[in-house]
């Protein structure tokens, strides 16, 4: 049996506007049923890439396929395979929620007899039943976002593309939207862009970071931490002979070394940052060894790099690469 094609396949995608390159040679794939977070600073090319994925904008070069169908050559087919919620979630102001969903359902070719029950279902999923007869222009931001999500999932497409679905929402609403997106896992491939990185980390299987139109990192949050930082960091509050600490640490693991050391506080404890290439937890070993070496430990903590750290490091790394002077040719 032939293997199902990936939900989204992007190869060497380039988009230029009037001489300015918005997207430069981006390649990635999204498997069916996978949730992928699309991260990048403002102006990185996220929205442009998403618009190309939907067929709304043509690419300058490269190829994009949705479930095996090319966006460039089969735009009608791919429009039936995607649910799209654009940035700022534009909605008609003077329609009622249920009317809007009915209209969109008809455009998305949902059979008339199935549309009513399906609208009820998405209203339930998105917790919109209370406002189904309200005019969209009178809804709060949270409800409007949920109407956008309801519209995107209405026709049960295999691919959902959402550009900043949680923008402007309060923490309760973010939680609802996060659970909603997580509930699509396995059924629909979802690609979402957001600036709220903890949300992405909690919701997404994989993360794609782009900067200046290029993919600068991609993988699971854990794999990205390893790729970007490559080390595990421990923070220690220690009191004792300063020279004894490096030797004690080296006894535990050869790669365990002091990276940073602050001045002692009033009680004589110094904040020491220790780094190692070992991924397993060395906390207990550090504690035992230091105590055995007559070094007093007030606090020990393994520092977890957040996705925010990964994002900042990855984007900084790409900026550094761009800013670095080109190697000079020697005659």
């Amino acid at each position: 049996m032939p293997e199902a094609p990936p939900a989204i396949e992007v190869a060497h995608l380039v988009k230029t506007y009037g001489g300015v390159t918005a997207v430069s040679d981006i390649s990635f794939t999204v498997a069916q049923g996978e949730i992928v977070g699309f991260l990048g600073p403002n102006g990185a090319g996220k929205s442009t890439t998403m618009r190309i994925l939907t067929g709304y904008l043509p690419a300058t070069a490269g190829s994009v396929s949705i479930c095996g169908a090319s966006v460039a050559t089969e735009p009608d087919l791919i429009k039936r395979r995607i649910g799209y919620m654009p940035e700022n979630n534009p909605l008609p102001e003077d329609m009622r929620v249920s009317e809007y969903l009915y209209f969109r359902g008809r455009l998305k070719e949902v059979a008339r007899r199935k549309l009513g029950p399906r609208i009820d279902e998405v209203l339930e999923i998105c917790d919109l039943k209370r406002v189904r007869h309200k005019i969209i222009g009178q809804l709060s931001k949270g409800y409007r976002q949920r109407v956008g999500i309801a519209e995107a999932i209405l026709a049960e497409p295999p691919v959902i593309i959402m550009d900043e679905p949680t923008i402007g929402l309060d923490p309760h609403q973010i939680l609802i939207v996060r659970d909603l997106i997580a509930s699509l896992r396995g059924r629909m491939a979802v690609i979402i862009s957001s600036h709220i990185l903890p949300e992405i980390e909690m919701t997404c299987d994989r993360v794609l970071i782009i900067n200046q139109g290029r993919v600068v990192a991609q993988g699971t949050p854990a794999a990205l931490r390893k790729e970007i930082f490559g080390e595990t960091t421990y923070l220690l509050d220690v009191n004792g002979e300063p020279a004894a600490l490096p030797a004690a640490l080296a006894e535990i693991d050869a790669t365990l070394a002091v990276a940073e050391e602050a001045a002692p506080d009033a009680a004589g404890f110094r904040r020491v940052t220790v780094k190692t290439r070992r991924e397993d937890d060395l906390g207990e070993a550090i504690l035992r060894t230091l105590l055995a070496k007559n070094l007093r430990v007030r606090a020990l903590r393994r520092r977890e790099h957040t996705l925010e750290d990964v994002f900042l490091a990855a984007t900084r790394r790409s900026w550094d690469a761009v800013a670095a002077p080109a190697p000079t040719k020697t005659p």
Binding site: T54, Y56, P58, R80, I82, P86, R104, L107, E109
Partner: protein
């Protein structure tokens, strides 16, 4: 064109819930009612040669230049301003379907409003008890002219709306284009300087597009296929430019 009926019913409904539609309808019906009353006053004062129906359509251009911009200014400009054109065009619909549906809905309302003024003549014949007031020849000719020319006028309004995100700007562009087409042609037809030999081809073109001349022919009961072709080809051209305008703006969005 699979989604055209869905889009057309949606657009018609949207026009019916828009306040601008009711402003246009009230202004139009009020103005036409006023014209009709004046005609009745004139006819009551002294006998006239022309039938009331033929006089009634002489001022068609004034409500048209106001009503068409009001009915069409929102159609594409508002979609672009709100960004809903993006969600619309990422469903399996084409730009052509969207533009045609917006044109169809505005045209439907335009003809309905004009059609409603036929009631004036019916009321007159009913209460005067004189069937001559319901002069079917000029009346049918006049309404046929309104229906045929309305295609082009509404298409111009849709085109103006495709050029900008601002409804007011769209209304102004539409009003100016309609004014140039209807009144500009009329002003140039009477110009003596166009009679010069070298300008004869230009004069022929202006005469061909002389809207007032077309109206007079229709009201007299002369349905010239060249006039019909003028409006139909103008409609197709304006709609084609509207579609191109939307697509070009997408490429640069």
């Amino acid at each position: 064109m699979k989604h055209f009926p869905t889009l057309l019913s949606h657009e018609t409904r949207m026009l019916l819930v828009s306040p601008a539609t009711y402003v246009a309808a009230t202004l139009f019906l009020g103005f036409m009612g006023l014209i009709f009353t004046k005609i009745l006053e004139i006819y009551a004062g002294a006998p006239q040669e022309a039938s009331p129906a033929s006089v009634y359509f002489q001022l068609f251009w004034l409500p048209t230049c106001v009503m068409v911009p009001l009915l069409t200014m929102k159609c594409l400009a508002e979609e672009r301003r709100l960004g809903t054109i993006e969600t619309l065009l990422t469903t399996p619909v084409t730009t052509t379907e969207v533009v045609l549906a917006k044109f169809g809905a505005a045209y439907l309302l335009y003809t309905l409003l004009w059609g409603a003024t036929a009631g004036f003549f019916w009321v007159l014949s009913k209460f005067s008890g004189d069937a001559r007031f319901l002069d079917s020849g000029p009346l049918l000719g006049g309404f046929l002219f309104i229906a045929v020319s309305g295609l082009f006028f509404v298409a111009i309004g849709v085109f103006a709306s495709s050029l900008t995100r601002n409804q007011s700007v769209a209304a102004i562009i539409s009003g100016v284009l309609l004014g140039l087409l209807i009144l500009g042609g009329n002003a140039l037809t009477d110009s003596v300087w166009l009679e010069q030999g070298v300008l004869q081809p230009a004069k022929a073109v202006i005469d061909y597009g002389h809207v007032f001349g077309h109206r007079d022919d229709f009201v007299r009961g002369v349905v010239d296929t060249r006039h019909v072709l003028f409006y139909l080809s103008g409609t197709v051209l304006a709609l084609l430019f509207s579609i191109l305008s939307v697509e070009v703006k997408l490429l640069h969005s």
